[in-house]
Symmetry: C2
Subunit: 347 residues, 2 copies
């Protein structure tokens, strides 16, 4: 009998319970202090984000029940927002008695020890402070997975960036007829692709917002060019940060950016920006609907993260810098997007 704890009852944490349940695991789905409404609604009937009942093998745990939720489980998945990651991980470490395979579906960066860090690196450091002699067994989950489609059992492919053969043994609890799991040891590549695709999906959303409403004038050529530029910049970033380009040119990068730019919250956030809404306003508007445009926060922290690799790196990322000026310096979105094309593409 396999027992699993999933921390975070939002889209992805709840969706991953479907393949886990189909593989016969008992799932403890723990909600953060922000998830009370979700748990209550799920208890009464449907999960309010996924619009369906959760599998029967899911038991719900409220935020004060973390210790119970992770007691005697075989592995733990963390699927909170990037802002929630550190507080949840620290609470988790307090209750852990020993090493435990950890999976994270959280995408983005954290501020830790006075620096902006990858989630993996912060988690590693915290873990080793408590368990200096135990194994940090870690998986970063990436790839093109819209949570609601996973819960609909649409054919889906994912990539697990893993650091231990022990994870290999656990894959059978994930793999399902509709859920393919590819494996790589390039954790940095998977994690950073997942994070930055949310940033670049904003650029594609901006293209939709800015040009999509001009009657009779489609901008697919420009959007394809932005898509391609996004992938090239992600490859530069990931290579600089110790990952592999090949990871970007595959499911974790181009597959995930493709799905994120077809639908999803970050694309929609970008669409608002393209329609001349200020970034903070758009973020707050979505937040009031219970939707977090993570790419916006990732963009801010990601910019700091990239500075750690020297100014030289940012110079190679004109689309990233264009987004930065639009989102954080409130520059005119149309002027910036056209300037980006003229200055950096039209050479």
């Amino acid at each position: 009998m396999c027992r699993v704890a999933v921390l975070g009852a939002g889209y992805m944490g709840s969706a991953i319970t479907f393949p886990l349940a189909d593989n016969g695991t008992d799932i403890h789905l723990w909600g953060t202090w922000l998830d009370d409404d979700i748990l209550e609604a799920s208890q009464r009937g449907e999960h309010p984000k996924l619009k369906k009942k959760l599998p029967e093998k899911v038991s719900l745990f409220y935020s004060q029940q973390l210790e119970e939720a992770v007691k005697e489980v075989d592995f733990i998945l963390i699927a909170v927002s990037s802002e929630g990651f550190l507080p949840v991980f620290q609470k988790l470490l307090e209750t852990l008695q020993t090493e435990q395979p950890l999976f994270t579906l959280t995408k983005g960066f954290v501020e830790y020890d006075g620096r902006i860090m990858r989630i993996h690196d912060a988690a590693f450091d915290l873990f080793k402070k408590k368990f200096p002699h135990e194994n940090f067994i870690w998986t970063s989950v990436g790839g093109p997975v819209k949570a609601i489609e996973l819960s609909n059992k649409v054919p889906t492919g994912t990539v697990f960036g893993i650091n231990s053969p022990r994870i290999q043994e656990l894959l059978r609890y994930f793999k399902a007829e509709y859920y393919r799991v590819a494996v790589t040891d390039d954790i940095a590549g998977v994690e950073l692709s997942s994070a930055f695709k949310n940033v670049y999906a904003i650029a594609l959303g901006i293209c939709d917002g800015l040009y999509g409403t001009m009657k009779g004038r489609l901008f697919h050529n420009f959007k394809a060019l932005l898509f391609n530029q996004a992938i090239q910049e992600m490859a530069i970033i990931i290579e600089a940060a110790g990952g592999r380009r090949a990871t970007v040119f595959d499911l974790a990068g181009l597959g995930d950016l493709y799905v994120t730019s077809s639908s999803g919250r970050n694309r929609r956030f970008g669409e608002y920006i393209g329609k001349y809404m200020r970034a903070e306003e758009a973020y707050d508007l979505m937040l009031r609907e219970g939707e977090i445009a993570e790419g916006y926060k990732t963009m801010g922290l990601g910019g700091e993260f990239l500075k750690g690799f020297g100014d030289n790196l940012l110079e190679k990322l004109p689309l990233f810098r264009t987004l930065d000026r639009i989102l954080f310096l409130d520059k005119d979105v149309s002027v910036e997007m056209e300037g980006f094309f003229r200055r950096y593409i039209l050479r």
Copy 2:
């Protein structure tokens, strides 16, 4: 004063006249024997495909006027369909007196000398038969360019695969404020990316047709997976055929597949297939509307082309083989697409 001949008055041949005209060239737009209606309509007012007037610097030439059209021009663009390429190129060679920079926007394969060949290779052979001691100056044009958007002057990026520094000097006649030209010496990579993206766009259209109409069930996860698989297979093909993987992972490959799968004739052809129309029926339906789904023909010839590299190559291309069974063996589209996922992706 620069004078240019464009052969083929369909979408792309007509659209490319816009940046050429903006750079002050005089353009001789020659229509094939299939383009009479287009020329007549364009003469009276609007180009019927692009739905707008052609630039003033464009003069129209009917099929019997090829010699006039190419007389004393500085370079020649060929933008006929792949089926029209050989007859047009042979006619062109009859009128040519000497070497001449040649650009082709035609995508696909030709049957030449008893074999299925890349257009470049057939053209090279024909050229050298007539001009054994002259230079074959050649450009294959690729990248994410919807013709109608180019004629709307939407920001657009293209890739020229070139084999001579003389082409570099001519780029100024193409580059415009809305038209970026990247250059590579990987002609095979550009040409084969252009051809095979039309094939794989059919797979993405099939996904739309098969699943897009199921109410409330989106299949973006699956479509992203197909998109990624298409790019991986294109990289395998192009590497086997002497091109570079990097060309596929850039504008010519992923950029072009992105735009082709957002809109375009091959995606639409695939959508019909996904709705259980037989391939030939769908092709004929579109043909009656004056639209050619080139990917269908490219698929047939491309399959033969790939066999030239041994059976081993086709084994590495499960999505290509799946398409082959659907389009040419009339296998059930739903069974095949799901079988593809189960057998090749879900491993």
